[in-house]
Amino acid sequence: MKLSLDANVFIYAYITGENIKNERRRREWVQLHEKADVLYTDVLKGKHVVIIPSVIVAEVCAVISRLTNSEEEGISVAKEVQEYCVVVYESASVLEELLPVIGKVKGSGIDSILAALAARENTVLITNDRKLHDRLRAFESYVDVRLLKDMSLDDIKLISD
């Protein structure tokens, strides 16, 4: 299946969350990690293809660098994402193609670029950002969007079949 993953899904996939001290926070994170991990493992196996704009790679790099206080770790993760995912760089021609959908989504710059790319390439967009999810629901005909939190492990396994 063709997917577009939001930066938060990558972050959950790379961080197990087992060391989070607060029990409730840990439980919530570990649940999201398990789902993102299954999803990303299937990407590595070639069961899914991920198509994302380069701004998502930049966000992943920024968050991992912050979480680990190491720019090298942020770059390592960004490099791996670039290796296994189709990254679209926002050139003049690409932006020109995406602008009509960006205009319809009316979200933040990054949300709009991600959603426009998902619409253009007909991918399933998976995010854990409820605001983005709810906004895109209004554009159902343009983007097939799913909220990671609301997806069960069975839902995730099902999209791999």
Binding site: D6, A7, N8, I11, A13, Y14, I15, T16, G17, E18, N19, I20, K21, N22, R25, E28, W29, Y40, T41, L44, K45, G46, V49, V50, I51, E59, A62, V63, I64, R66, L67, T68, N69, S70, E73, S76, V77, E80, E83, Y84, V86, V87, V88, S91, A92, S93, V94, E96, E97, L98, G107, S108, G109, I110, D111, L117, R120, E121, D129, L132
Partner: protein
């Protein structure tokens, strides 16, 4: 008058450069099609290598987290896109 012509020529030259770049640049879909071939694993061996490499990186990153509440950082960096752009 002369300055006006120079300015118009300059503007046209910029537009020609932009159009030339757009013609030469791949369309989004062409780029995606080309990249789809690259990201597809060749065989089981490559899949095993990918999984092993990813597992090592994931474990290293997970054990390097220095903040108590990663979700708070995630919300701060990514969750406020709307505020940042509205």
């Amino acid at each position: 008058m002369e300055a006006d012509i120079v300015s118009r020529v300059d503007k046209l030259e910029r537009e020609v450069r932009r159009l030339k770049y757009m013609i030469e640049a791949k369309t989004l879909h062409e780029h995606v099609i080309e990249e789809l071939r690259r990201v597809k694993p060749l065989d089981e061996l490559e899949i095993k290598e990918r999984l092993k490499k990813h597992e090592l990186l994931k474990n290293r990153i997970s054990s390097s987290v220095v903040v108590e509440d990663p979700q708070a950082v995630l919300d701060e960096v990514i969750g406020d896109r709307d505020e940042a752009f509205s």
